[in-house]
Symmetry: C2
Subunit: 326 residues, 2 copies
């Protein structure tokens, strides 16, 4: 499989690393909006192209992995490139997934290609887990907890406050909420009852720290409904202690079986990631294999993790999988 | 969907209960080797038939859920009924799955039906988890821990010892082994290093308890390689404390990402089941839906959980799934 990476930030670099672990795939090029000469990649002898070159390379690339952002890049890029290549993206604006699906479906069908959208862990593996769990235990309730991990969106929101130079926000699941769910009592919990938020902030010299803390804690949607802790730290501390992008979370379904629903059964799927972007990238790469295989069978159109047979993700044959994994 | 249950033990009863939670399915009949009049089922107004009647009911039943045992029932029944109905079974003799697959594949293709085999949690959801995890994090290692739960095979082995009236064996994962795996160090662990075994035994009056305990602890394959504890209890204690069939377990993959494999990522899938047979039954019922849908699309042949697109398990439409779960 000949793979292209479009967009070379944390996610694009993660895809590049993941491709090195998959010998059935070959990186053919990285496409960037920056001047290609200024972009150094990790793989020797692989060219960096200007993004404009991509559309001329239909004969060189089977699957284009789109590593742009969900806010402005992917809504435009995925339909555009889905006409030309099999594509995989990590579009994660939950509310806009149906609209994105429909555009990518039209485009990829026009091009006779497969477009796999919203791949990653949430949406992605967490969605898949919720689906399997709910289909197996229809009488029940599921819970998603995020963290401990860095939320880019919340970090950015803090950075926009006047007097803030840099910020990192961690979303932290409440252990007592997880315990309650595991207890099988199926409590009703708001997102704020499930999580706390912790902010590390580098402020400008002489900034009014009390005002900054108040603005964070009262920020609607982002923080107002949460128990939030704010720590002011130095630039050096930020670089030393908060340069990684760990994340994770857990999906739990508590469901009842038996003639009188007398038995409680718990299913959990959890992730503990040292690197959020590298893990997301690893999921994208596995689904690139699926996109290629579906395409080879003549399938066209938009797909999500919910539509794709699990075995299409693996380099192993059906026979090997049955023998070794079933 | 019109469903039949063939075999009415713990698993068959579990399927019957699960069907009550799935309004798109209707139980049309239970098929038994016993005299039908002696079998009382839980659902009002559903007939119990002799197993010989099954083959005459091709027009009344879409999916036959086979609830027999893997040792002697399913190797014969699944190929036989796969010619007549879409079928789902829980065949769990891991080493013989390739052979079973091949026979069911031939039979179901002859009948133009779909045969889904080895559905449950291991094989089943655990296999699926191992497959997804391995495809996403190819550089890593996975671990399966079983328990705490009742192992029927080990309980039976103890019951066969001279002087034993009844026995229940619990498989228990070692917490220190789970911790080591979660620590990301990827230790090499034998099954015995991952689990201990605990036996509760009702002995005949006057039996030589020391001999029984020795015979258990030295039994090859079953106990010799494990740290095993034996408790002698009364018949009353057995009935009071050990009448349930709880089980569970966890699949953990520890995998590395990054250019120098500098990041460790953990994926876990775990089950904690009050009722092992009812949970297995719930998985069978979800895959009965998938078998029916694949059949409606003209698919024929043998499938496993690895082959079936996740969305086929859910009563929700693709649109609803994308909106609500993705």
């Amino acid at each position: 499989m000949r793979i292209g990476i479009l967009g070379y930030g944390n996610l694009g670099r993660g895809v590049e690393c993941a491709l090195m672990q998959n010998p059935d795939m070959e990186l053919k090029g990285v496409f960037t909006r920056r001047a290609p000469k200024t972009v150094r990649i990790l793989t020797p002898d692989v060219p960096v192209y200007s993004i404009e070159e991509a559309e001329k390379m239909q004969n060189e690339i089977d699957v284009m992995i789109l590593c742009g952002g969900s806010a402005t890049d992917l809504p435009e890029q995925t339909p555009k490139y889905a006409r030309l290549f099999h594509v995989v993206d990590s579009f994660d604006t939950h509310a806009k997934i149906p609209e994105h699906f429909s555009k990518v479906d039209t485009a990829s069908k026009e091009g006779g290609k497969v477009g796999v959208i919203s791949v990653g862990w949430d949406p992605g593996m967490f969605s898949l887990s919720r689906m399997y769990m709910g289909a197996i235990l229809p009488e029940g309730k599921d819970y998603t907890f995020w963290g401990k991990g860095v939320s880019q969106g919340h970090s950015d929101a803090v950075r926009r406050i006047d007097g803030v130079l840099d910020a990192r926000q961690y979303t932290i699941p409440r252990p007592e909420a997880i315990s309650a769910v595991r207890g099988g009592t199926m409590p009703d919990l708001t997102t704020g009852e499930k999580h706390t938020r912790e902010c590390f902030v580098v402020a400008e010299e002489g900034a009014d720290l009390e005002r900054i803390e108040r603005e964070i804690k009262t920020m609607p949607n982002y923080f107002a409904d949460y128990e939030t802790t704010v720590h002011f730290i130095t630039k050096e501390e930020m670089a030393r202690d908060h340069s990684q992008l760990p994340h994770g979370g857990v999906v739990i379904r508590s469901g009842q079986t038996g003639i009188d629903k007398e038995h409680t059964n718990l299913i959990e799927y959890s992730l503990k990631l040292d690197s959020n972007p590298e893990f997301t990238a690893s999921v994208l790469v596995a689904y690139a294999r699926a996109a290629y295989r579906l395409g080879a069978e003549g399938v066209a159109g938009c797909k999500t993790v919910l539509d794709i047979p699990p075995a299409y993700l693996s380099p192993m044959s059906g026979e090997e999988l049955r023998k070794q994994l079933l």
